[in-house]
Subunit: 567 residues, 2 copies
């Protein structure tokens, strides 16, 4: 491509709300243009990157015998009612009626559609397993679309769905997809981590996320210092603590504790480690048709992990409550405890099961209990893992220490089991001729988000730095002075040669001055720029390596061989 | 791919409303599955065909330096208001509000979006021309979606848009795209014709359609017996007639003509050729905010062409009217003529300009005028080409005769001029530094419709017959008896060899009996099936050619070379 005719509208303008490097650079370098909140056009450079990513995905999917399909984007709302997700998805699911008043949704994910496609078409265990996938535009009407391609409303996703006759076979496929996803991210030149994850609105019995490591990641990942363990904090576990502070042994008793409404005050008051105090986090829990206040109890040194809290209550969402709302139902903020209190439902962190020597609110203004032994309620109370792990906690699998890092979720794979096949009555005949619901897995990968993730991990203050497998053009030939016939001639010759060798090459044949063109090349981030400049009179040109920002002098008559060697 | 694990759910069931071969066979052979009216899933075989077609399109687009982009499918309704098309498109344009009550449409075509993308980003004639295209899902809420992929609501289209500084340059690009489109259709193995077309809702100064010739085509094309001329009947022209019947010369006069309400009656009554009578076709013409009755006058031997009538009146649509509606405004059905009558607007066919010796209604019950000379109103009446050409009419470019054939519109290219750039104020600076609206072309090609068009043109009573460039798999290896070890061994060996040679091959390793598998292969339509059967004991196998249905005996040890030679 000749740069003079390429539609690459670079600019100095930073979009108003842009904070992430990928949002800023992809906009400035002419990759994307915003249409409306969360809606983007992919211009030629972005389209090229997307196709390269899609290619890698297709190759690795083919290698594990997954078959590509393409499902209708506009999907009947009936199917979403059948699975029960039409309510669960809430407003993110964009609904509309067609001219005949039939209700449809714009597909944000395609579990229902895929199950509907396979049911009655695959009827025997003999035709299993199958893994069907598509790479297609999706739509989620996010409340706060943001960060450019990172969290758009319309986005490109690779979504795959596998069907099995046994759970063992699902496990095999799950790991095959995990391995394929790892290969894809490695080939794209990304530093990533596979972590345990919460299954969220998709459901199922277990899931893993593929996280591209980047400071700007929206997700916090807990990783072990010794073993391979990694997990989204939404799902991270820890072992029973190694180092436990000394217990403040005491008889059960009620103490007057004026003005000790916070954990800090309380720990100070009794001179105990917050580990031995019980924190109450009151939340309003939202269900499909109702809501209620629920009290979540964790150790004073811990924090409530909200996704765990949502899961523990099987809620759609949880939101904050005011002190007034608590007072209305007779709760006394600052002094709420799990004993002798029936104003609201309780969930107690699993780490507190059988905990002794604890201090907690006495459900009475200015009073706390001491010497609390929770084993007395271990049979009747509801205990669940609802606390967020802390940096420094011990790994659940070894004695390593957990630390936090930031990641961008680019893939999420799920063992669904029969979550969708059972309600949608998608069944096959097993070896004994018995009807069984399909055992399923589902596997997502964010294609447009990957474009942003590459930039988040690979950029500097001057712009994007594309990896070899993602670069829109591998080589940029820069003719410094377009009026210099020798420079133009060499540029054209190299351009033709590289094109003939199927190298993706762009020839910067614009009349602008060298400095401007170089800045442009840095902003866009071509891996290599061949600079044909003044030194050509001495038979030399330069190769600029975008990643290292180093320039290497090369003999002009060896430039083709040198470039071919590098790429 | 092994057939036993391939998701190719063939079936004997014909969809209820299916009448076209492509609809029947693509459904039965497991290419597509219907989701709702006009909405289809593409299963693995169809996805493969689509990708092959897309590949060919991409290659030919790259060859003319068109650049690929991908625009948001969900597009802001504002842009459609800016261009004035939100009304013109009517209910086909699916509208909906997002969670924040902003109005959007699902893009049925992307002129507005593309102009919006380019405006303010390309600002100088120096960066022109550019040709941007995408291959993406579109949505039109058709009133009567039908014929499977032929007229769906969600469909895949290649849409391209070019921007120029001069009309000459638009002409050059228009022909370059026409040539590229011809190459694409030739490469896909299709018999087609490029015809002159009506520009419809897209607008502009001229357009051509690419028609795949097929009996089931929805479009009627007039083609010349001698020259290259071809046109959609909606836009077809003819020369002034060569053979003109003898004129019934007469003085202008009013005649009593009881009960002669039809042209046949009238011609009989006066013993004249219908050529010399004037037919009135009254229609209600629908505009954006109003409607009115308009009288269309054509020769008695001609018929009104409705698309031409819509264009002549700049209407959104025209619909029939009842005799009562005509009577209400004082018109007398059967006796309406273009003289001395001001009850409704007239449009007179251009062929009647200056016509003499005509007979027409006198706007009085049971009376007609004879000896009418329309030259008396040639200055004041509105003449336009509104008659449909007839088979046997003379070509407008030579003395050949026009005949009709049926076609499937798979491409439509338009010289838009400034139809969109002017209202959307998309301008560039010309060589003199003056601001000018872009001069544009737009180029569509129906990708999913092409899948159906291939089958419409290439099928027999047993199923699809894919051409080499469109076949989902080129070679099907049929192991007749899966229990015969020698047959299986040769099948596996050939399968591996062909895969290594990058041939798209499927191995039919199912346990079903030979006849069933052969029927299946015919239904799907693989170009070649290698039959490994009983004759293998004598060292022979067969190659079945789907197009000719011939079987050729080949030595088993030469089968690989033979197949490679054929494909």
């Amino acid at each position: 491509m000749r740069r003079s005719k390429a539609f690459i509208p670079t600019s100095k303008e930073v979009p108003n709300e842009a904070t992430l490097p990928s949002h800023i650079f992809l906009s400035r370098a002419g990759f994307i243009s915003q249409v409306a909140a969360g809606l983007y056009n992919y211009m030629p450079l972005a389209k090229k990157v997307i196709k390269k990513i899609e290619n890698v995905i297709n190759e690795e999917m083919e290698a594990i015998s997954a078959q590509e399909v393409e499902l209708s984007f506009v999907t009947p709302a009936d199917l979403w009612a059948e699975s029960g997700r039409i309510e669960k998805f809430g407003k993110e699911l964009l609904r509309f009626k067609d001219r005949k008043e039939n209700l449809f949704v714009l597909g944000p994910t395609h579990e229902e559609m895929m199950v509907d496609l396979v049911r009655n078409r695959v009827t025997s265990y003999k035709n299993l397993p199958i893994n069907l996938y598509q790479i297609k535009t999706k739509f989620r009407d996010e409340a706060r679309p943001r960060f450019g391609l990172m969290r758009g409303r319309e986005f490109i996703m690779k979504d795959g769905y596998s069907f099995h006759s046994t759970f063992q076979d699902l496990d095999r496929e799950f790991y095959a997809v995990e391995a394929a996803y790892k290969k894809i991210l490695s080939r794209l030149g990304l530093d990533f981590r596979v972590v345990e994850a919460d299954s969220g609105a998709i459901g199922g019995s277990g899931s893993k996320e593929l996280m591209v490591l980047a400071d700007s990641g929206e997700d916090t990942i807990a990783v072990c210092s010794k073993c391979e363990y990694g997990a989204n904090v939404e799902a991270a576990k820890r072992s029973k603590r190694g180092h436990i502070p000394e217990a403040p042994e005491a008889e059960f008793n009620k103490f007057q504790t004026p003005d000790t409404k916070t954990i800090d005050d309380l720990a100070q008051f009794f001179k105990v480690d917050p580990y031995y105090t019980i924190k109450c986090v009151a939340k309003r829990v939202i269900y499909e048709d109702s809501s209620e206040i629920v009290l979540f109890f964790v150790r004073g040194c811990d924090n409530l992990q909200e996704v765990k809290a949502v899961n523990a209550t099987e809620a759609l969402d949880i939101v904050d409550v005011t002190e007034e709302e608590l007072a209305e139902i007779g709760l006394i903020p600052g002094f709420i405890g799990p004993l002798d209190q029936d104003k609201a439902k309780h969930v107690i962190d699993a780490d507190l099961k059988n905990a002794a020597n604890m201090i907690c609110g006495a459900n009475e203004t200015d009073y706390h209990f001491v010497g609390v032994d929770l084993s007395v309620i271990s049979e009747v109370a509801y205990f669940a893992d609802i606390a967020e792990v802390n940096e420094g906690d011990t790994c659940p699998y070894c004695d390593g220490e957990l630390s936090f890092t930031k990641g961008i979720e680019v893939g999420h794979i799920f063992k669904l089991g029969t979550t969708y096949s059972a309600p949608l009555k998608a069944e096959f005949l097993d070896e004994n001729g018995k009807s069984q619901p399909f055992i399923m897995g589902t596997y997502g990968m964010g294609v447009s988000r990957l474009v942003a993730a590459v930039v988040e991990q690979h950029h500097d203050e001057n712009g994007c730095i594309w990896t070899k497998e993602t670069a829109p053009y591998m080589v940029n030939i820069m003719v410094s002075n377009i009026k210099d016939e020798a420079q133009v001639a060499l540029g054209e010759e190299l351009y033709t040669k590289l094109q003939d060798a199927k190298v993706e090459v762009i020839l910067d044949d614009r009349k602008d001055r060298f400095g401007f063109k170089m800045k442009d090349a840095e902003l866009i981030g071509f891996p290599y720029t061949v600079i044909i400049g003044k030194e050509l009179v001495n038979g030399n040109v330069q190769i600029y390596d975008r990643a290292t920002t180093e320039k290497t002098e090369v003999k002009a008559d060896e430039i083709y061989e040198k470039i071919m060697e590098m790429i």
